[in-house]
């Protein structure tokens, strides 16, 4: 089925955009900016080819299955983004659009289950990689939230002008802010990689059933929330107090996700 093939190629091209987003967090995004944009435009073209082929194959607009509508939605989002980029100067928008387009397109390309694992060793290595990435990601989120709480305490103490006492030994506000943003960025990279490796694992493991798992939805929401926070921080310059609150919410979300996944274990030991 050629339509699916082109969709997967488009997803692969979109993945460059995700990489670009991650690099932006560490101020290394400039080099990849132009290639990522080209790849994205190319992806949009191939995506269109995929949609047209699908349309001809089934004889009507491809919106009947979840996968088809996901694909269409991703396509329109990508197209809109290209138009906005053409008409307005809004470079930071790609920070969120690239990852979301990649996410939707790759979800749409999971319509037909793969043949399963070629090798049981690969299966467990893949799973371990996913678990390690997510666990380190959680650790980074805990650091982020702790440093955010210290930030809020120190900020309150400086605002109240009650110098000395309990808060004297807290690190300076600037140090805490930079620690929060570094830990948050590292956590985002780890969680993103963990999220996609986990999704890929679940897809290979349980075919098309995996999308209906509630914990998949929980992780998806957490990841989207994380993406939003990073966007607010990078593009809207949210830092300090507001960013610190967001970091604390992020920890709550991640805790929820973790709880929903600890139920995964019995399922894995088959």
């Amino acid at each position: 089925m050629w339509s699916l093939f082109w969709l997967r190629v488009a997803a692969a091209l979109y993945s460059l955009g995700l990489l670009q987003t991650l690099l932006t967090l560490f101020r290394r995004g400039e080099k990849l900016a132009a290639p990522a944009r080209t790849a994205f435009s190319l992806g949009v073209v191939l995506h269109f080819v995929s949609l047209v082929e699908r349309g001809f194959a089934i004889g009507h607009l491809p919106t009947t299955s979840v996968y088809e509508s996901l694909s269409l939605c991703a396509y329109f989002l990508a197209l809109t983004h290209l138009l906005i980029a053409k008409w307005y100067s809004f470079p930071s928008l790609s920070f969120v659009v690239f990852p979301i387009v990649f996410l939707l397109t790759s979800l749409a390309s999971t319509e037909i289950p793969t043949a399963g694992w070629a090798d049981p060793g690969l299966r467990s290595a893949w799973l371990n990689a996913h678990i390690l990435l997510v666990t380190f990601g959680y650790a980074a989120i805990v650091v982020t939230a702790a440093s955010a709480v210290f930030y809020l305490l120190q900020e309150r103490h400086l605002k109240a002008k009650a110098v000395g006492g309990l808060f004297r030994n807290l690190p300076p506000l600037g140090t805490l802010d930079s620690l929060t943003s570094k830990a948050m960025a590292i956590g985002f990279v780890l969680i993103t990689l963990g999220f996609f490796t986990g999704s890929a694992w679940a897809f290979v493991e349980s075919g098309s059933r995996w999308l209906s798992e509630p914990k998949v939805h929980v992780s998806l929401i957490t990841w989207l929330f994380y993406l939003l926070i990073m966007y607010l921080r990078v593009a809207a310059g949210w830092r300090g107090r507001r960013a610190a609150f967001l970091a604390v919410y992020l920890l709550l979300f991640s805790g929820l996700t973790w709880v929903s996944h600890s139920g995964l274990r019995p399922l894995l030991e088959r």
Binding site: Q154, L158, K159, V163, G237, G240
Partner: protein, 422 residues
Amino acid sequence: MKLHLAGLNHKTAPVELREKVAFDAATLEASLNELTRIAGLEEGLILSTCNRVEILVSAEEGANAKQCIETFLESASHVSNGKLAGHLYHHEGKEAIHHLFRVASSLDSMVVGEPQILGQIKAAFTAAKSAGAAGHDLEFLLTRAFSVAKRVRTETEIGSSAVSISFAAVELAREIFGSLKDKKVMLIGAGKMSELAARHLKRSGIGEVLVTNRTRSRAEQMAQVFGGQVVDPDKMLSALPSVDIAITSSGAPHYILTQDNMRPVMAARRNRPMFLIDIAVPRNIEPAVNDLEAVFLYDIDDLGRVVEKNLKGRLSEAKQAEAIIAEEVDKILERIEARKITPLIVKLQEQVEGWRKAELERVRTKLGDLTPQQHEVVDALVRSLANKMLHGPMSELRASVGKPEGEMTAEIVRRIFRLGDS
């Protein structure tokens, strides 16, 4: 050895006198050599800072060290005879140690708790050592003084409080920004107070200084002092977003910065923290500015409260520090006494060992040929007898160190064992 310390400091002598007495770093070695050449003085150290000149010596018992040091200071400083006398203090023995420990711990400083003095003493000691003026006695004492100062610093908070207004401002800036290295400060109004605060900030490594003032010539003058730039008063608001610390001290009768005109500034800063110091009376910055996110506004009274709190804290910390020093002085005195008793103990051991060997030799000729085994038995017998007899006097000597009966015990042991004078 007996320790003497004499000198003058900011409490006993005015700066006009202190600057005459101060030793030049270039000629310090020659002065140290001159000091230790004086008969009766064994080791010496010269501490010369802008707030104090002190001479520490280890002298022979009975030497008139006080007079020696005074003469030395007068001849070294070209101060006419007798002029120095009223300003000098002199401590010996325990008092000298106590004073040294207090100075090293910055309890005797003009700004109590300031950290430079310890480094200055370390430098003075290094100079004395390399000039050959400081030996075992001073090494023993100074090493201890350094660790006492460290103990005071870690166990009390004496070094962490800010005392002056401008110092408090710098401390607060550090609490907000951490390093001040690439931060920018703007002086709005070029008064004396803001100059002082800017000087402090500059010394703490602030990056750039901007000055804005109604009278341009004054702004230029001040900008030159700090290697900064002048900003036109009309362009003050547009320059503000890049500024991290602003100090206002202008004579304007109304608010220069209000919540309304600070809001866009903070937006342009993307809410990076900003520290506003308003030392003008009447105030230059609307108090409501403090309600904006990431703005920390301190007026002169807020800073005053910080200083006051620190002073109070410092008093109680100083009390704690004094207690530590008293404890450490007792400890080192005990160790000095123990050092005194060491030669006597060595002598005692040598005396008994000599007797043991002589007796063994004498008896061996009388007994004739002994088998190695028999020889070993006799040897062991004499040795254990000697050790048993030594045990009592030695532990008595050690136990009486530093106690009133110490000298008497030492004398009795000396007499009983025929040790002569030591």
